[in-house]
């Protein structure tokens, strides 16, 4: 039985990854999960310098999911290189570093700093964070801006890049095509959908930032649809995420066209979710007599 998938030349032992920002740098969940079993660890978004993020409350629970407006708090790329990457290097898993920035130059600075890090197998470029005022999502909601920044980043990277797309757009196909045209090696989606919660007794926003990104099972149907649309619009591989809680969910994304899948908010519900998904995929393959996981990628048209 083969569960390995290859995305932009990088081979993952299985398609199951962690979604950026929901698994810290891997360290926090290593108490629960043997990181060696994961297809990849995708780290929290990192910028050129430390970012303080947004005021609290930063998270709020909603029906079947949560809102977050962390605002990309991160210790900066230097700390990542000195502390997090050495930790991750000891595990037999792939490492994808999620990169954020406020300007094109910010992104370029980070990817350049990471370009000689052998322990970094791929870079995921977050141009879709709805929770920071400048930069970020501005690139992720306009195909021309996405094209430009992708092209610029590509000039400065050694590792293959994954442009991470925002679902807060009219046409996800158009965004996927812009990323592909500019040379992105893969795309990942979806980032969170912008949402809001109001506390009707305190008459305030549940999130200090007013809006937050919606994630969790509530968004899965939207994510599956966008993965389907995006993977039909481009030839580069797609990594799918959005509400994955079970192996069935992961398989749904793969049938829709995803070559890899990531578990996000559901890590908070159950820290063993990634492992359960991996084991469940293997069971499904056995039951369904599927010898190679690659057979199911995009199999439902």
């Amino acid at each position: 039985m083969n569960t390995a998938v290859t995305i932009a030349g990088v081979t993952f032992k299985n398609p199951v990854m962690t979604a950026s920002g929901t698994f810290g740098s891997g360290m926090e969940y290593s108490e629960f999960v043997d990181l060696n079993r994961l297809g990849a660890v995708v780290t929290k978004g990192v910028a050129n310098v430390p970012w303080p993020g947004n005021p609290t409350p930063r998270v709020a629970e909603v029906y079947g999911g949560m809102l977050n407006a962390i605002g990309l708090q991160n210790p900066g790329v230097d700390v990542m290189i000195e502390r997090d990457l050495p930790f991750l290097k000891d595990f037999d898993t792939k490492v994808i570093v999620n990169v954020c920035g406020k300007s094109t130059q910010d992104y370029v600075d980070v990817v350049e700093r990471l370009s000689d890090q052998d322990s970094v197998h791929m870079l995921e470029i977050n141009v879709s964070c709805p929770n920071v005022k400048e930069g970020g999502i501005a690139f992720g909601q306009n195909p021309d801006a996405l094209f430009e920044i992708t092209k610029e980043i590509k000039k400065h990277t050694k590792q293959p890049i994954i442009m991470k797309l925002s679902p807060n757009v009219t046409s996800i196909s158009e965004m996927a095509k812009a990323a592909e045209a500019a040379g992105s090696d893969a795309i990942s989606l979806i980032n969170t959908i912008t949402g809001m919660k109001i506390d009707i007794y305190r008459k305030t926003f549940a999130i200090a930032n007013k809006t937050g990104g919606l994630s969790g099972p509530a968004i899965k149907p939207v994510a599956v649809r966008m993965v389907y649309e995006a993977s039909h619009a481009v030839k580069i591989p797609v990594i799918g995420m959005g509400g994955i809680a079970t192996a069935e969910d992961a398989i749904e994304f793969m049938l829709a066209g995803a070559s890899g899948v990531a578990v996000g908010a559901m890590n908070f519900h159950d820290p063993y979710t990634t492992i359960n998904v991996i084991e469940g995929i293997e069971r499904y393959m056995e039951e369904q007599n599927i010898s190679d996981i690659n057979e199911i990628i995009g199999a439902v048209k």
Partner: protein, 266 residues
């Protein structure tokens, strides 16, 4: 210390402690690692709610694997918890956070201040410092607990561990006012203060500690998602750059919930 786990626990007993306040005891191997001031995440079974509810440990019995938890019915999750029957299995995440630093208290005059639903986690702490069963025995233990009215839950139990002062908003018991009013009224002196309660109270505690030249350790609350330091949802502002985050933020769930008040931007 063992690793954190998500694990099934069994409800041993549950009762109404006061109006809207429940007192539940659960059996779990996590109790082995419990310390005063730490907390667990309790998962509701209602599938529309996916995040664990952070609730402090009120008392722990390591040998018999028991945790006592006292909580207020505040929303849908705690309302669900209140229906749990003995024998029922529940999912919990723990042990979470760092508890109160006891080592500084040996032989010292300890002041323990709690307000509202911040009262329960201080019971295990008072007991430990009074009995010395964690290897540290306070010189003296004074407790100041603040309540809304005469419904002074847990007060009888606190009394066993030292001198208990009470403040009530309506003045029905003890000092009319808040816990700081009670401290002033009784000119409470201390070398070290441990406190848990709402933020305005904690600010008052930090100020009072400065006044009387005591060191204050305070337990904070914030909305949490992961509970294990991964999501960065639950931060508080620190005076200095935090060692982990490299910005002026510490994670309440892992670096806290108890902090040295001097380290915080309150």
């Amino acid at each position: 210390m063992s690793k954190k786990k998500k694990i099934d626990a069994v409800v041993l007993e549950q009762r109404v402690l006061a109006d809207g306040i429940m007192d539940i005891t659960i059996e779990t191997s996590l109790a082995e690692d419990a310390n005063p001031g730490q907390f667990v995440g309790i998962y509701p079974k209602n599938k529309s709610t996916l995040l664990p509810r952070p609730i402090s440990i009120c008392e722990y019995d390591r040998e018999n694997g028991k945790l006592r938890i006292v909580y207020r019915i505040a929303g849908s999750g705690t309302a669900e918890f209140a229906l749990y029957q003995p024998g029922e299995s529940i999912s919990i995440l723990g042990i979470l956070g760092n508890g109160f630093p006891l080592d500084k208290a040996e032989g010292k005059r300890v002041l323990i201040i709690g307000g509202g639903i911040g009262v329960p986690p201080l019971l295990g702490l008072s007991k430990a410092l009074h009995e010395g069963n964690e290897g540290v025995k306070a010189g003296s233990v004074t407790m100041v607990m603040g309540y809304r009215n005469s419904d002074n839950f847990l007060a009888d139990e606190f009394k066993k561990y030292g001198n208990l002062l009470i403040a009530t908003e309506d003045g029905s018991v003890g000092t009319k006012g808040n816990v700081i009013d009670a401290c002033r009224e009784n000119k409470v002196q201390a070398d070290i203060i441990y406190a848990c309660g709402p933020m305005p109270m904690l600010r008052g505690v930090a100020a009072y500690a400065a006044e009387i030249g005591a060191k204050a350790y305070i337990s904070l609350e914030e909305r949490m998602a992961c509970g294990v330091g991964a999501c960065l949802g639950c931060i508080c502002k620190t005076k200095n750059i935090d060692e982990h985050s490299h910005v002026n933020n510490a994670r309440i769930c892992t670096d806290g919930p108890v902090f040295d008040a001097d380290d915080l931007e309150l």
